[in-house]
Chain length 156, copies 2
């Protein structure tokens, strides 16, 4: 059982950091392809990918975007956050097996509407930045602490 906790707008501070770590697996790539419909062979067909500039299958760039989104929804500010805007610059490919760290930093707090701006940086196990961007969200005003939902079993 994992507990999800949020930070309300009043609890957030400029410079506050939140991190979300995840290893990218073939399973993630297949499930992302199924969820989005993005069956681009660069992500699914090893023979095709070998002939591209990447030399091997890589993850969908937007799977990295999904990790950023997960970091915001689960870690900073966490449950109750409303997502307004996300900018993503895809700087390097994310490869299967990569150990990814999403690092969020609060860069602006706008009290009038509880808007929060976050710097978003995704790095791999070599400390290379694979995605850089920024997000604008509405932070929650009510404190939440809740059990993380359990996903149904998924078999591939």
């Amino acid at each position: 059982m994992t507990l999800l906790r949020n930070f309300t707008f009043d609890e957030l501070k400029l410079g506050q950091i939140g991190e979300y770590q995840r290893q990218v697996t073939e399973r993630d790539v297949i499930l992302f392809a199924a969820a989005s419909g993005d069956v681009n062979p660069l992500h699914l067909d090893a023979q095709y990918a070998a002939r591209t500039e990447f030399g091997e299958r890589i993850a969908h760039g937007m799977l990295g975007g999904a990790f950023v989104s997960a970091a915001i929804a689960l870690v900073l500010p966490g449950p109750g956050t409303v997502y307004l805007e996300q900018n993503l610059r895809f700087k390097l490919p994310v490869r299967l097996g990569d150990q990814i760290c999403v690092r969020l930093e609060v860069t602006e707090l706008i009290p009038r509407r509880h808007y929060v701006k976050l710097d978003c940086k995704v790095t791999n196990q070599d400390q290379k930045t694979v995605i850089q961007g920024n997000a604008t969200v509405i932070a929650p005003t009510e404190k939440q602490q809740l059990e993380s939902p359990t996903l149904p079993d998924i078999g591939i």
Copy 2:
């Protein structure tokens, strides 16, 4: 069998449109949650979602972003495209069962590095804009026409 075709940089024209349609299912939401790790109860727990401003479970905002990414990878410019940047503004929630249309439009062609800018608009079955944004990509220079990879069976 579906054929994937791309547009090379030289084939693209200002104002060119590409569309990608998809119905959002509970399955998509579960698979996206599993792929990203984003188990925010707003998307997975009907009782929790009923108490939020949305009144019911909604799709992850970034699942809509994944549909935009799929449209670029599969339709315009299609296979061989390199994703550089994506900006997304989440304007309205995407609900389970929504019939979504991603509409891409070529707004800028930069010959020196084959950069293409695309306006991205995601609408639902009521013609309401749920996501608006823009993308920068490197268009392919080689024509491709290939069979769409088949995903393995996924059971939930």
